[in-house]
Symmetry: D2
Subunit: 342 residues, 4 copies
Amino acid sequence: MIKIGIVGGTGYTGAELMRLLARHPAARMQVITSRSESGKPVAELFPNLRALVDLNFIEPAIDSYRDCELVFFSTPNTTAMSQAEELLASGIKVIDLAADFRIKHIPTWEQWYGATHACPALVEDAVYGLPELNREAIREARLVANPGCYPTSVILALLPLLANNLIDPKSIIADCKSGASGAGRKASVGTAFCEITESVKAYGVDGHRHLPEIREVLQTLNVDADLVFTPHLMPMIRGIHATVYADASGPADQVQSVFEDYYRAEPFVDVMPAGSHPETRSVRGANVCRIAVHYLAAANKYVVLSVEDNLVKGAAGQAIQNMNLMFGLDETAGLEAPGMLP
Amino acid sequence: MIKIGIVGGTGYTGAELMRLLARHPAARMQVITSRSESGKPVAELFPNLRALVDLNFIEPAIDSYRDCELVFFSTPNTTAMSQAEELLASGIKVIDLAADFRIKHIPTWEQWYGATHACPALVEDAVYGLPELNREAIREARLVANPGCYPTSVILALLPLLANNLIDPKSIIADCKSGASGAGRKASVGTAFCEITESVKAYGVDGHRHLPEIREVLQTLNVDADLVFTPHLMPMIRGIHATVYADASGPADQVQSVFEDYYRAEPFVDVMPAGSHPETRSVRGANVCRIAVHYLAAANKYVVLSVEDNLVKGAAGQAIQNMNLMFGLDETAGLEAPGMLP
Amino acid sequence: MIKIGIVGGTGYTGAELMRLLARHPAARMQVITSRSESGKPVAELFPNLRALVDLNFIEPAIDSYRDCELVFFSTPNTTAMSQAEELLASGIKVIDLAADFRIKHIPTWEQWYGATHACPALVEDAVYGLPELNREAIREARLVANPGCYPTSVILALLPLLANNLIDPKSIIADCKSGASGAGRKASVGTAFCEITESVKAYGVDGHRHLPEIREVLQTLNVDADLVFTPHLMPMIRGIHATVYADASGPADQVQSVFEDYYRAEPFVDVMPAGSHPETRSVRGANVCRIAVHYLAAANKYVVLSVEDNLVKGAAGQAIQNMNLMFGLDETAGLEAPGMLP
Amino acid sequence: MIKIGIVGGTGYTGAELMRLLARHPAARMQVITSRSESGKPVAELFPNLRALVDLNFIEPAIDSYRDCELVFFSTPNTTAMSQAEELLASGIKVIDLAADFRIKHIPTWEQWYGATHACPALVEDAVYGLPELNREAIREARLVANPGCYPTSVILALLPLLANNLIDPKSIIADCKSGASGAGRKASVGTAFCEITESVKAYGVDGHRHLPEIREVLQTLNVDADLVFTPHLMPMIRGIHATVYADASGPADQVQSVFEDYYRAEPFVDVMPAGSHPETRSVRGANVCRIAVHYLAAANKYVVLSVEDNLVKGAAGQAIQNMNLMFGLDETAGLEAPGMLP
């Protein structure tokens, strides 16, 4: 059993890591830290884990993790960057579910995250943990930057099109709709039930941190795109629906099989039949990105519909997928449960 | 008091008409018909109207409306077209909240609605009831085609841009999100609570009836656009959020004042300050379309955010606004109530 | 026009007061105070009020209200008690929507609210603002204690039974279900969307502040009841559904007409036909308490179902009803709008 | 692997059976029937099962199940009773998730279900599948009547109190709140999203089919109680919250340990610490009934709070728990996943 530590286990991605790891066949949670809840049983905060997770939160301190083989950071941004170095030096692998290691270009990161990066040297080593893009590198990685929830859904929607030069990259628009758990578990008026339910709004139209992340990943594919990315907040807990538009730059009649071929071997990307409209609920709780591609002849545009559970394929599930790869396990271990519908 | 008849009062637009008319200072509901609920008190079906609407549903028959000055059709498509002629002949004005008179080009209508039009001659007479576009014609109209909910939100988002030649019409994408009441009040698995809540999906990506309606309205403005229109279903009752994208075709620095100037005199279009993100809940129950315009310099695109209550400015409220115009009343009569937030 | 001040306009009851007062025919909001939002336009916080409420929040200070004839406190508990005296001394009437003046027995109040009462002498003067119980006293009152949301729904359910000696008061159980707006507009994890939606829980089973309030009101009716009161939190914004149980203490065959007779003249209590099950949505946004009474012969118990909008008849609407009485207006002024359904 | 047939796989309990069985270590779905969807892939109706359930719906016919060892009926009431006999005669075990075999007293069943029972003789053989009550009988059963969702939550709340004579059975009131999935997957106006969300209502106050079921189970415990049972509909998909009241009939100081002792060995009943308020979301998707007991000294009453997922411990999960017992498997096989929170 791989011995696991979780830093910052009181948020939604932390809770989701624990929900998934509680039944993982080859990993055992050993340490879960939280500054604010130190001393409290994990199952008191998350009663769904009663009888399944027996640990108490403890103070976060480097020493706490000394018996771990892997530490997940499910912390706010800028936490992992100050602790990863020491953990790695002790031979402990690290997966950061926050954004500290996602962007290679340090000035870009510093501009969007409003902080000086604490360990720029490590950023170069970090592997962007999107298995569909970087599987082999992840297997060898000591430090994985787990992708953002929006970038996962948008990049997976675009990969087959870009790999086959089917679109004009300058034309990409990603109109994304996310459930409220993406904002994290926190005390704020803006995330209150009465503020969110029965309403829809866009936010960050003029700039969102996931935009430079997507753009940089596309650049590694030699695609230079000032894409438009518009996130919207939906009155639901889980789920991202990315609606991605792009101008077709060639014949479109093979696009369905292009997608099917591209993802044929992927365990966690599901290309739906032509004409489909995937629902976010079909992936609720599951580590799956479900995709449908449409071609609109009159406008000569593709519309790709891509859904995921932002807490699973968009965060904790993908982190475990990365863990499985890093430790030579079956990539799907602990991640086979179907989505919960209804 | 204007004497009002409502044909098909058992759906959500009918219920909303009654909610708004119940307190209208110059209109009185006289007749509400329903084939399925004939004989039942209106307030039994809609208990919010107890003590406010005293009528029983009666059988729909031309004779039922003989004392009315105006009849609203809040019926399924293809109902109004078979009855409007006779009503008009009796001197009764008609507002159709369904789609029978929205599209002038009969073959287009017949293709999208899968029926032969019963009175093509009347279609030419009908005025498309978007007051911000056709106010003067509505004042004189005997027959008003009340716009679709999506077209209202999309057209209002585009008008200032098109009127000022600020965009390339070929580039328009309208990514729209609607609450479930847009699907009407009906028995179907697809609209069941457990199918809708906690989920988001696109639908009709390859073609939706509101697309030819928008396209034809734009053509009347001499804009020929094969725009992309993607409707999505949201887990909420009321509200449409249109996110409209278009390539800028000139300098963008005046766009905020362009919008403010364009709608300055409009009682029911509210241009928000630069940088805003309107929420659908801010117009819940209110006859308002609230708009914010963003310009993205890197991509040289506009993103217009436009919200309305699909049952009010997108249906019943706009119908009453049209009624007010047709009968020489204050355009805002009965429509002044603020949105219900929270 | 009555000149109105609102202290603490940033919460949900404050927002609801403004929504209702914005269209009141005989009252005009003059001053809205907030310590935290001082200087900000009201409509920036509550965009549904754009173009309807033109005021900015200002600092709360006694001087701010000097031109007002009436001041509403929609503040947290313990605020009104420190300011009411000075306002009353200046001839300004006061309605407190919080709990400072609801309980006459000071030691009980101090025990449940964990504070020393700042003006016990005023408490005696205050009138408990339930018009169905205290209409005449309210007309003469300078200081009204607006009832709690739960007590309104429970007391209105019980009044006809108690007035006619139809139940054993020792047997009363009030199982109440409330929407989340009852918890107020605040930053807390517990009221976050992801914590509330898709879940139901009881809270305060061992004691809730509305219990002594109900108990004391019943004592004024010479009923001594250690009633059981169990509040539950529902995943919805607005609405209270009280399910009130009591043992029948005599023949039950007249109970429907007992309720109908008791409330026949009441503009805001609606007794539904025998066998009905009222829905909270039927009163959404409306100043109505809708009641159905059932008698279960086998168990010899009554079950009274009572629904209200906790922000309207349970708070701001009732406060305006009290204002109307205090100023000799038509009791229903500004409160006639039907509930919003769907 | 036990070979499984499912009759009526298109409803929510059928879908939930498939979700849980898809990952069961010792059972394999072989046949899933549906009259209405015959020929269609299961995963087309329930896309969460894509790649996990490869079957097509087939016509229901006795012959379809000939290779099965166990058949689940997740059909409307009155279906199983007409087919069970033939299956049992072929040596196939049966678990009915509907109500055909839950009530032993045939006239009572016929009165509440409005039908003549097709095989009264079999009813006597059927075992009421509440493992916490009938574990040994279930192990030997050929035919199990899976309990209703409400009865499971109410009976589990009452068992420790009744077994220890701690309450007056005549005083029991069960005020129950259920999510909308309890009404099944069907086309009806009453279950539409816009009718259910943002509202709460009671239903069946004067009599609900689960009342005679609870009453008869209590009678098997020699408890004769005309209990009051009031179901309420909540705006959420999954979850039942039973709030059960009863008069204490003796000293109450041991009640917490009475509950803990009673359920200590039970894998799927979780007694929470004293003073707790369980949330339905803590059991979402999990086969757990979570219980907290409160004693109110002033009223001398117990209040038991009991939550379950109506589709899991209230239906499909309990059915699999019964299957595990009938086939000598570990009782928890396939049922260990934690609830999904948030």
